[in-house]
């Protein structure tokens, strides 16, 4: 299965997390979603993901943009 990538570099809080949540809604449990985001959105997106039981399973970086691999919880 290909992992889809969600780009939220143009969004601000709280749309950042809303979009991630919608993105995760479309995939099955334990599925993966890549999220491209700016530094400013990191804290809120990651902490909300953790609170909702998802995991950030990989982090990479390209020119100031972070790429998170999110694994959907339960």
């Amino acid at each position: 299965m290909t992992t889809s990538t969600l780009d939220i570099t143009g969004d601000v809080c709280p749309m950042t997390f809303v979009k991630v949540r919608l993105g995760l809604h479309k995939i099955p449990p334990s599925g993966k979603l890549n999220v491209r985001l700016k530094e400013e959105a990191l804290k809120n997106v990651i902490s909300s993901l953790k609170t909702e039981g998802h995991r950030v399973t990989n982090v990479s970086r390209e020119e100031g943009i972070f790429l998170l691999e999110v694994t959907k919880g339960g």
Binding site: E39, L42, K43, V56, V59, S60, R61, F66
Partner: protein, 291 residues
């Protein structure tokens, strides 16, 4: 009425108004919290003894203005039946201010009202060389402006980095608002600069692997702040304290230091300008064995 008699009234929270014969009565409020029966009593007192007006002060205080001098005693008695005391003025430990803290605010690290009550019980109205203000913020968002107080407290999270799971993803460094986290020269460790860290815990909340952990969730003390005519901000003293009891002991030690070194009419911040902050820290450490 003699000046001495006015002074005596002022000490007990009765403030002479510009309009002769009238007083604004300062009430005893702790951490900005009043129970509804107290509020009802205050409302009724303002209607009966004042002009149906209540003033909310900048430091979470409540005053009933426009009370005639001959009604002061009756007002005091009336309020006492509902558990509302009158305030203090002069060279004493004043109203302890506090935010709602962790029991109400999701950002809260400490129980601010609980500590405020403890400080108030122990110290409210105690004599000191000059007025002395204590303010308590439940976290680094600092709604109660800890640094504007003679002693300010902030809820504080001290992070600790753990090697095994860290992937050096850089998230903690990116989210740190003060850039307190550096990578060691060999690139195999993260180093947190305690002088830059503001105890927000953001690195812990954001770390995907759980490698940033809470070392201490506790109390940070700031000393020597004041506002008024010549404002200056308080400075952090001591390490992060773990318990309410430790915080209390440190506050008591600060007051002892002020009583020993402060001159009458000198704000604590000015005392510290003379003695230096290290003298205060040494005093507290020796006296109560605080870290």
């Amino acid at each position: 009425m003699s000046e001495a008699a006015f002074k005596e009234l002022k000490k007990g929270g009765m403030m002479r108004q510009s309009e002769a014969g009238l007083f604004s009565v300062r009430l005893h409020v702790v951490g900005g919290r009043l129970a509804t029966p107290q509020l009802r009593a205050i409302q009724e007192a303002a209607d009966r003894f004042g002009r149906g007006e209540i003033h909310l002060t900048t430091r979470q205080g409540v005053e009933i203005p426009h009370v005639p001098q001959d009604a002061l005693a009756a007002l005091k008695e009336f309020l006492a039946t509902s558990g509302v005391g009158v305030g203090v003025c002069g060279p004493t430990v004043r109203t302890v201010t506090a935010c709602q803290g962790c029991r109400v605010c999701p950002s809260g690290v400490i129980d601010s009202p609980e500590l405020a009550e403890a400080v108030d019980r122990e110290l409210y109205g105690n004599p000191v060389p000059h007025k002395f203000k204590v303010g308590i913020s439940g976290c680094v968002n600092n709604c109660m402006k800890a640094e504007e107080n003679d002693v300010g407290i902030k809820g504080w999270i001290e992070p600790r980095w753990e090697t095994p799971a860290c992937t050096f993803c850089g998230v903690c460094q990116a989210v740190c608002p003060t850039k307190a986290i550096a990578t060691s020269e060999d690139g195999r460790a993260l180093i947190i600069d305690p002088t830059l860290c503001i105890g927000c815990g953001d690195c812990i909340t954001s770390c995907p692997t759980g490698s940033m952990r809470e070392e201490i969730r506790g109390y940070r003390i700031f000393a020597g702040g004041k506002f008024g005519r010549r404002p200056s901000l308080g400075k952090r003293i001591l390490g992060v304290l773990r318990t309410k009891e430790e915080a209390m002991a440190a506050i008591l030690a600060v007051l002892d230091f002020f009583r020993i070194h402060g001159k009458p009419g000198e704000r604590f911040g000015d005392t510290l300008q003379r003695t230096g902050f290290p003298a205060l820290e040494t005093f507290i450490k020796v006296g109560v064995g605080r870290p």
